[in-house]
Symmetry: C2
Subunit: 302 residues, 2 copies
């Protein structure tokens, strides 16, 4: 089922290359073009054999693409998005896959063309790995994709972009960019910040060697190292782009941590037990919703 | 290979029942007895068919056991350990599997009998599940078991207990209880506290619904819910037993988090990038050490 005749993906990393794979394997476009600023990445992308063209310059194909997908880190997106908008053909759709939405919407609003369709998007999918070789066609299966179209966006084009994501295996949610950024601060950005922080704290303890940390990581620490192995450049940009949302959730987290710290200091076991007893339910719901595996230890020992 | 003629495991939960399974399946004892205060747990344990006797009263077999393993939550251990010591037969070995070591060592020191051998232990293994049905014989494979014998402990008995753990698949490390508690505060206790806290924070946000948290959990949050589904009673006891170690590491963590928060507030991308770039290495080392899987997302999508 062809959804768009010609798709240009700008940024061929984990998400961009997974989209290219998914679009190719499910025949969702007649032409797939990928642009990536890195010549090394282009080499890997060419070897995949899923694109009709791979180039370091997005200008090569931007004038003919029906769908343009921004899939670079957020900082790069800010730099190139205005030029991308200018060069697109009339009637084409612009979307992105960035982890924050409000920044790009605000950036592009003043100069948005009325003859193209801008529909920001964010697939809630990924792994701790990055780069074109890390992608795979099933990455978006059973995951949600959030679209944040501004008021007045052509409904037909939102439906068409939704059908592309659905064909890649995703479920679609729409919300405004502000709400997206607060929800993701909670479910993704602050969890990453905390994981990065804890891994750094453990590495810097004078009383505990790095060798200790590695050997005894199965007690819980190793779970945090997976997230803290994510792409540093992308995550720097995410935090700078969702400053308000992240700071609000972090402050709430520190408040809650301080309350539990106080309970530990004063030996208040009842407060601890009450808190620890209420957090099991949400995991059950996540498993029931198909967003995680039920297997112990994520099934990794099996 | 029989290591002990008769083993009594007090507390038949995840760890205790896994030990019983491992000892049975590898023929490491002639007699396996399990005591558990819960009649329901005893029923499950009997149905497993790995024990020669199952009882709600540890006194039934304590007078004849060559090895007594305390595998209850730390709070219960404190209550029963003095009576266990009194009832053991001359020459027998007492060990435990508790996540903190200093508390029990201090508790038993004043009344320790010179005619029995007390060798505290802690297998760095487990899952988020609890109870007798959650156990499995391979739980200790490739995991470390830390022993913290006090000075003057019979070397031969330390070697014998080590060989039991080795036969269950573990590697042995010995250290003093103080060091154990600080290392585990870093690699296990504080990670659990932070996961419990973050899951609670997300559940309590007014601007984000629980439905949002469930649907978009694949962005990172779901990893934390696994750890926050661990046994509440046990973890309450762990924090109360390792107060000093936990508070020291938590304070360091909050310092580090505040520094990153400040970098976000002031748009200091260089500090963020530097921090995020240094945490990848430790995951590589954990994978190389056989303490985690290399597969993306812990292999759970596969």
């Amino acid at each position: 089922m062809t959804v768009y005749y010609s798709v240009l993906i700008i940024g061929g990393g984990l998400i961009g290359s997974s989209m290219a794979r998914a679009i190719k394997s499910r025949n969702l476009a007649e032409r797939i073009h990928i642009a990536d600023a890195s010549a090394d990445a282009c080499k890997v992308l060419e070897d995949l054999g899923v694109a009709n063209s791979v180039s370091t310059d997005f200008n090569n194909k931007i004038g003919t693409a029906d769908l343009v997908v921004l899939a670079t880190p957020p900082g790069v997106m800010d730099e190139i998005a205005p030029d991308v908008v200018k060069a697109m053909k009339t009637g084409a759709v612009l979307t992105d896959v960035g982890s924050t939405k409000l920044g790009l919407v605000k950036l592009l609003a003043p100069n948005m063309r009325s003859d193209i369709h801008f529909i920001p998007g964010h697939p809630i999918a990924g792994t701790e790995n990055s780069g074109p070789a890390a992608g795979f066609a099933d990455l978006f299966e059973e995951r949600w994709c959030i679209l944040t179209p501004v008021e007045g966006t052509d409904e037909e084009e939102v439906t068409r972009l939704s059908s592309l994501w659905e064909a890649m295996g995703s479920q679609i949610a729409t919300m405004d960019p502000e709400r997206h950024d607060m929800v993701l601060a909670t479910t993704s950005h602050v969890p990453h910040l905390i994981a990065y922080t804890l891994v750094g704290t453990a590495m810097d303890m004078e009383t505990v060697t790095r060798n200790d940390v590695v050997k005894y990581s199965a007690g819980g620490f190793r779970d945090f190292t997976r997230i803290a192995a994510s792409d540093p450049e992308m995550w720097r940009d995410v935090f700078l782009h969702n400053k308000d949302g992240v700071l609000e959730v972090v402050d709430r987290f520190i408040e809650d941590l301080s309350a539990l710290k106080r309970a530990i200091r004063w030996g208040d076991g009842d407060t601890l037990l009450e808190h620890f007893s209420k957090t099991r339910d949400i995991r059950r719901r996540i498993i029931d919703a198909g967003q995680d595996t039920e297997k112990p230890d994520f099934g990794r020992e099996g």
